[in-house]
Amino acid sequence: MIIESSDQMPRATLLKRFPVPRNFGVAPESRISRGKTWSAPAGAKCVKSFDIYRYDPDSGKNPRLDTFEVDLDDCGPMVLDALIWIKSKVDSTLTFRRSCREGVCGSCAMNIDGTNWLACTRFISDLDTPATIYPLTNMRIIKDLVPDLTHLFAQYAMIEPWLQSKTPEPEKERLQSPEERSKLDGKYECILCFCCTSGCPSHWWNGDRFLGPAALLQAGRWLADTRDEAIGERLDILEDPFRLYRCHTILNCTRTCPKGLNPGKAIADIKKMMIERRS
């Protein structure tokens, strides 16, 4: 009942999705239809079904949901292993991003069983039956599980994620005490997977102007950096009804971060900084 870290799965689930129609508010080109079912190879004993979102931009058809039966004895333990097994043994057109396979690059971020996480750090044994795999929530889809992250990176660039200082460069490093360096803990570790931003309902409704938890966590990272001298300018960027203040402390971000970071807290601290500088 009490979740202590974001990698904890809920013990029981009352509802797997909000009680809205399947295609609630969905534009015609985004409606999902039923797709093919790909059965497990003969002789497979340990079989699990995966419902995976597919979209082929060259076909001109709408996205669909394909069902793949995966032989778990032939496949690694993580969801990414299942995707790679499907791609190599069943349907080589299945498209997804991946790189490090250890949860540090952020490429394989997707919506697994209703929550955003990294496919390479989610155990298959933790999944529902059938497991559902969708791309990152509320993103324009290039193909299958590959979202277009252009505007998310543009929002990241808007907060100016680089050191800004007016004092001349020191001869060696810009020194920091351990206490000053510890202010960056919990912020610098962000791998920009955008699980948080794409899981934020406020970003779903106002994503064009609300920056989202990932960009705001990094804004907090630069505001907390004692070597940076542009606190005023950084806070000026956020003086806008939408960029920071569409955050209504829903806290889906903190719940879903695959690295265990806390964007919600960082945003609350930024809001406090915005008030404190007025007094």
């Binding site: 508010g25 069983d113 969708y134 779903w204 806290l251 903190t254 807290k265």
Partner: protein
């Protein structure tokens, strides 16, 4: 043109249609819904007060609606909405001060809000039965 491919708009991946309801998002939307319900309740309250000020017939008419079984269910729902919005509001004030952001605190305070809302609603109705006789 990041949103187009071969002239068509790229599809948008589903959001509320498939995202798992979690305590975080459910309590947040409940706070908003109870707020809307309370706004409607404010109007109903004004109607009730105006009826009381107008005279016995108007008051009896409004009381007839409120004391009917459907009115009582509505009243119960409104008291629950009031207490849930109140406890949720306190939770938000604590967050605005900067406290209670660990996942453990978020979940503990969330369940506390649900429990307190139910407990306060039941207490209020039991107390009202004692007062009314």
């Amino acid at each position: 043109m990041p949103n187009t491919t071969a002239g068509r708009n790229r599809p948008l991946s589903p959001n509320i249609q498939i995202y798992r309801p979690q305590l975080t998002s459910v309590l947040s939307i409940a706070n908003r819904i109870t707020g809307v319900v309370l706004s409607i309740c404010a109007v109903v309250l004004v109607v009730w007060l105006l009826a009381a000020a107008t005279g016995p017939q108007a008051y009896a008419a409004v009381q007839g609606v409120i004391t009917s079984w459907i009115g009582q269910i509505g009243l119960f729902g409104c008291t629950f909405a009031f207490f849930m919005h109140f406890c949720g509001g306190i939770r938000h004030l604590v967050w605005d001060a900067g406290y209670g952001f660990t996942l453990r605190s978020i979940y503990a305070s969330g369940w506390a809000v649900v429990a307190a809302s139910v407990a306060l609603t039941v207490t209020a109705w039991v107390a009202s039965l004692f007062v009314a006789g």
